[in-house]
Amino acid sequence: MKTTIKIAWRNIWRTPMRSFLVIGSIVMGIWAGIFVIAFSYGLNKQRTLSSIKNSISHIQIHHPEYDKDYDSKYFLENPDLIKTELETNANIKAFAFRSLLNGMISSPVKSNGVRIIGINKNQEKEVTGIHSGLVEGNYFESKRKNQILIGEALSKKLKVKLRSKIVLTFQDTDNNIVAGAFRVCGIFKTQYTKYDEGTVFIQNSDLQRLIKSKEFHQVALLCNSLDDVDSTYHNLKTNLNDYEVKDWKTISPELAYADEIMETWLFLIMIIIMLALIFGIINTMLMAVFERRRELGMLMAIGMNKSKVFFLILTETFFLSLIGAPMGMFLGALTIKLTSETGINLAIVGEGLQSVGLGNVIYPVIETKFYIFISVMVFIFTLIAAIYPSRKALKLKPTEAIRTI
């Protein structure tokens, strides 16, 4: 027994190339498993964060009827109450009050229906990313009144540019028609042309001056981190129960379950990768066994019994895995550490991507338990993979083996 182990150990070092191949496969397998899992979770997280940052935020507050019919008459009563509540909650990083109206935008040549979003520029900056999505102009920097941000697609439709004048028409709470002239101070572009065509941003102060009342329809807020959302959400639901409070999972359930959806997918891919790995190892080891048939035949001829030969090859594999596994884990961990800081820019793979903000860069992330899980799995599979070649070795006829060329 002990001898077999000793022989196994020495055999590994005797044929570096063969050993390198097997160790290499194991390292690759573990590294691949770790990377693919981390990458997939990172991808999902990216999408969630991107959506939260660019559109839905962590939590939104509305008038309870607002969802049924996005009518501007459903504004938030007593906004100061909400403000105080939000300011006193330590988990909340930033909030933004918004007014939302439907109206028309006109230029000398064309008119279009638009969604008008009245923002507080300082608040909004902390909560969403529109200020960084400008392709031209600036984000309400001028002290002038009546500045407006429009989408690039809309600017093309209306045939206007920076500093052009446009007229916004909408209804105030008494259903009177109100109109105001605005100047384009900035042009934004998101990945959704329809959104760019149909959405404009103006400052709350300008809007409220025109409709002669201080109305807000929505508050969007960000917590300090994603983990704080649940508790904050429940807090606000209790304290602000006259309003409709929704968290990002309620607003976009497909994001909430993105992880679960992905896990089925991941499972499938991991099986494929593992199978590819196993067959790769089987093949390599088969080759190795036949390459060594003279040596193995010799061993059997001098008296080593068949089960010992079987055990020998298995032990060799065991040692190779023992060497390979930690290397694989180390390499995997190193890759994750590096990429989780610098991120992987998807632009290297997809030339057509034109996302704004976070969309392009993925930060792989993985729970520690996976390291162990993957390594153990690869370890076991490698041993299983070694069984077939080992059995083949037993079928060698010692006398023939010695005589081969």
Binding site: N102, G103, M104, S106, S107, P108, V109, S111, G113, K145, N146, S164, K165, I166, V167, L168, T169, F170, Q171, N176, I177, A179, G180, A181
Partner: protein, 246 residues
């Protein structure tokens, strides 16, 4: 000395501006009167088709008006009611009165080059602009004032400037040019066919042309106009929408 020149300039400058404003005001009032009733046709021309509507209009000042469509038969009996800033619509087929939302305001009125909004915001020409005389021209063999209107900074109008030409004798608005802020001419209005409607002299034909579009025009032809008819604000009611006679 400086002070004197400054004062003189102020007097002449101001009086010029006042003149321009006065001219436009007179022109506007001449056309409007306190109340009027008119019958006209509106021809919409497009590159591939054209359509003519016959309508009857009642109006009281700038706040109230009725538009009744007499032809074509498809639209016969349709009524638009304007009360201050709101527009209402009645269709004989539907038999219900509908208030048009602001989103409809910017859309073209009955397919023409006029928008619903044009029907509502007639008075803004005085209050939303500053006026300046820029020189004289001759149109239709009449001497005219050329007046340039510049939108006031907060005015909710899309134009960069408007040039309008008003005849010196009868204060008829004979032409207007609408420019965007880059100085491109976007719309043009030209009047012609000056004749007497009762005691008032007016152009019977108005042509509205969006300059940058090929083959597009809207032509208004007045058949009859009566001024200062006996109607009151109560006439312009929703109930009356159903009762208007063709």
């Amino acid at each position: 000395m400086k002070k004197l020149i400054y004062c003189l300039l102020l007097i002449f400058g101001t009086s010029h501006a006042q003149d321009a404003y006065e001219i436009i005001k007179r022109s506007d009032e001449h056309v409007r009167g306190k109340s009027n009733k008119a019958e006209m046709s509106i021809e919409v021309q497009r590159p591939k088709w054209s359509r003519t509507m016959e309508i009857k209009v009642w109006s009281l000042g700038t706040e109230y008006s009725f538009i009744l469509i007499q032809a074509p038969s498809r639209d016969k009996g349709t009524v638009f009611l304007k009360r201050e800033k709101e527009i209402w619509n009645w269709q004989p087929k539907i038999e219900k009165i509908i208030k048009l939302p602001p989103s409809m305001m910017m859309q073209s009125w009955m397919g023409s080059d006029l928008t619903n909004d044009d029907l509502v915001k007639e008075s803004s020409i005085l209050s939303d602009y500053t006026h300046k005389i820029i020189g004289d021209t001759t149109l239709l063999n009449r001497a005219c004032y050329g007046i340039e209107l510049t939108p006031k900074p907060e005015a909710a109008v899309v134009w960069g400037k408007i040039k309008t030409f008003i005849d010196k004798q009868d204060y008829l608005q004979l032409a207007s040019e609408f420019y965007d802020e880059d100085g491109y001419l976007i719309n043009k209005m030209e009047a012609s066919d000056i004749k007497y409607f009762g005691a008032k002299i007016l152009p019977a034909t108005l042509v509205m042309t969006p300059v940058e579009e090929e083959g597009q025009k809207t032509i208004l032809r007045y058949k009859s106009i009566e001024y200062n008819i006996d109607i009151e604000e109560s006439f312009f009611s929703k109930q009356n929408m159903k009762r208007l006679r063709l």
